[in-house]
């Protein structure tokens, strides 16, 4: 494979339930580089359950800078259910100079029609931050019995996107359940992108492109929780044209991160 890849869906630190190859930053960066990834948008697993989100984001920024091998781009977590979350957003933008933020409604316990969430989208859009919204992290059938989080209802997103001018939204781990009409409605509502880590089915990328234009489909691996080879091989499984491949592998993700602060 020639052209470099922008992976919009990786995480640093520890998955709470398992040690993973690549849960040390330098190791993950090396794995990504070996897979042909030139830039990876990194959230932190700590952002799921830690209440000290400010600490999580400061560590994330430092890890990417010091051990990211020049390819990790930090995306800080913001939890609009915590008091003074606006300060976390400000630090992500002004102190850490991040390109975007990560949201985890399933783990932070709010719905996508919640006024605080809508306000967060607006403030992020004003700051030109890319918003990455993770709809899931793992198959709900596999969750630890004492750590079950509810599925996120994505339906309110179409209206939320329409009401937030300038919003650039990337849906992470969304495509296992969200397909067809329901997906098209959200993507058409504004500047909304999806990534392929949880996309399934024989020839799945080809079928996705019948529902969503290639300009809205990004490469996401969900590494290190998923084998990075999964997303890589999906690009081979479907017959894709050069332009489609370039669009998914890097073109639109690069355009997104370049337009950020």
């Amino acid at each position: 494979m020639s052209a470099p890849i922008v992976d919009v869906n990786v995480n640093l630190s520890r998955w709470p339930l398992r040690r993973l190859r690549g849960d040390e930053t330098a190791e993950l960066a090396a794995m990504l580089r070996a897979a042909g990834v030139a830039e990876a948008w990194a959230g932190s697993f700590d952002g799921l359950l830690h209440k000290d989100i400010a600490g999580v984001n400061a560590r994330l920024a430092a890890e990417c800078r010091e051990r990211g091998g020049g390819l990790l781009v930090p995306f800080g977590s913001v939890n609009p259910a915590l008091p003074d979350w606006e300060e976390d957003l400000r630090r992500c933008a002004e102190e850490h100079r991040m390109a975007g933020i990560r949201l985890h409604p399933a783990y932070h316990g709010y719905k996508l029609e919640d006024p605080a969430f809508l306000k967060l989208l607006t403030l992020a859009a004003e700051r030109r931050l890319v918003v990455e919204l993770a709809l899931a992290m793992e198959d709900e059938r596999m969750m630890h019995p004492l750590l079950r989080v509810p599925a996120v209802d994505a339906a309110p997103l179409a209206a939320a996107v329409k009401e937030t001018p300038g919003l650039r939204l990337v849906l992470l781990n969304a495509l296992k359940g969200l397909r067809g009409e329901a997906l098209a409605r959200i993507v058409e509502a504004g500047e909304v992108y999806v990534e392929i880590s949880m996309l399934e089915g024989a020839g799945c990328v080809g079928s996705l492109l019948k529902e969503v234009p290639a300009s809205r489909v990004l490469f996401g691996s969900h590494a290190p929780l998923f084998y990075i080879e999964s997303a890589l091989l999906k690009l081979k499984e479907s017959p894709l044209g050069e332009a489609e491949l370039r669009a998914i592998r890097e073109e639109h993700a690069r355009r997104l991160s370049r337009r950020s602060p």
């Binding site: 059938r141 590494a223 084998y227 091989l233 499984e237």
Partner: protein, 261 residues
């Protein structure tokens, strides 16, 4: 490296007929370098199939196989809730037909003795027994086997090679559940490409008891192959998992049928 896929279906790919769907599966398999596919269950599924359902679904598979005997094998779909019909299907599809295995799904848990005559007959015919299993924190279907049910089945039939479908879904539990039973192999297919899955299966069971299956068309060949190609295991272990183990499991019935590879 040669790849044989233990676990494919005629579902999850477009096509109005078994032939059309089979052609689509083969197309994607070709792109992923998969040489042989095991196919089971028909165009339309039901949790508790009637005898007519079973026959119709096996007919779909026989039709799908008819142009692809050099690439695909069939497993007869049966149900302990219809013993006579199931034994008749074994006669029709395996003894007198081209099929080489037996598929048990979610009609009846395999801890129930009603499945015993089917497994005994399968063993006589040297047909490989594939039992779906899943341990769901969200709750199993009434007739859906857990990997612990499968261990119970294996203990009752120590001489019959049995495949634990999906490694129990919740594979960290599934691997342990079948570990003590040497006749149990695990199928890697059908779950997310969660990193560490294959490494743990190889560590606990040995590479000889781990078999690549995709569960395509519902799953992507790519995401499932990634579990093997992305695993930190020796090349030799990958070779066994990707084809040699399945060749070994099917060896007795293939040579009894005079199938030359």
């Amino acid at each position: 490296m040669e790849v044989w896929d233990l676990h494919c279906h005629l579902s999850g790919v477009p096509g109005r007929t078994p032939d059309e769907r089979m052609a689509r599966l083969i197309e994607h398999a070709d792109r992923m370098g998969i040489a042989r596919l095991c196919v089971f269950m028909g165009m339309e599924w039901s949790y508790d199939p009637s005898p007519e359902d079973l026959r119709r679904q096996n007919d779909d598979v026989l039709q799908a196989l008819s142009h692809w005997h050099h690439r695909a094998f069939g497993f007869a779909y049966v149900s302990p809730r219809h013993l006579e019909a199931s034994l008749d299907e074994l006669k029709r599809c395996v003894r007198d037909g081209p099929m080489v295995g037996v598929k048990l799904w979610v009609a009846q848990r395999c801890s129930d003795r009603s499945v015993d005559p089917i497994v005994e007959r399968a063993a006589e015919l040297k047909a490989l027994v594939f039992q779906h299993t899943w341990l769901k924190v969200t709750g199993n279907l009434p007739g859906e086997s857990t990997p612990m049910d499968l261990a119970d089945l294996a203990a009752r039939h120590p001489g019959a090679p049995i495949v634990c479908g999906h490694t129990g879904g919740d594979w960290e539990v599934g691997v342990r559940a079948g570990r003590a039973h040497r006749s149990v192999s695990v199928d890697l297919g059908g779950g997310d490409p969660t990193a560490g899955f294959t490494e743990m299966a190889v560590r606990e069971l040995g590479a000889d008891r781990v078999v690549f299956g995709s569960d395509a068309g519902g799953r992507s060949f790519a995401s499932q192959l990634a579990k093997v190609l992305g695993a930190a295991i020796p090349e030799d272990a990958k070779r066994r998992i990707l084809s040699e183990n399945l060749k070994g499991l099917l060896g007795p019935i293939l040579s009894a049928k005079g199938v030359r590879l």
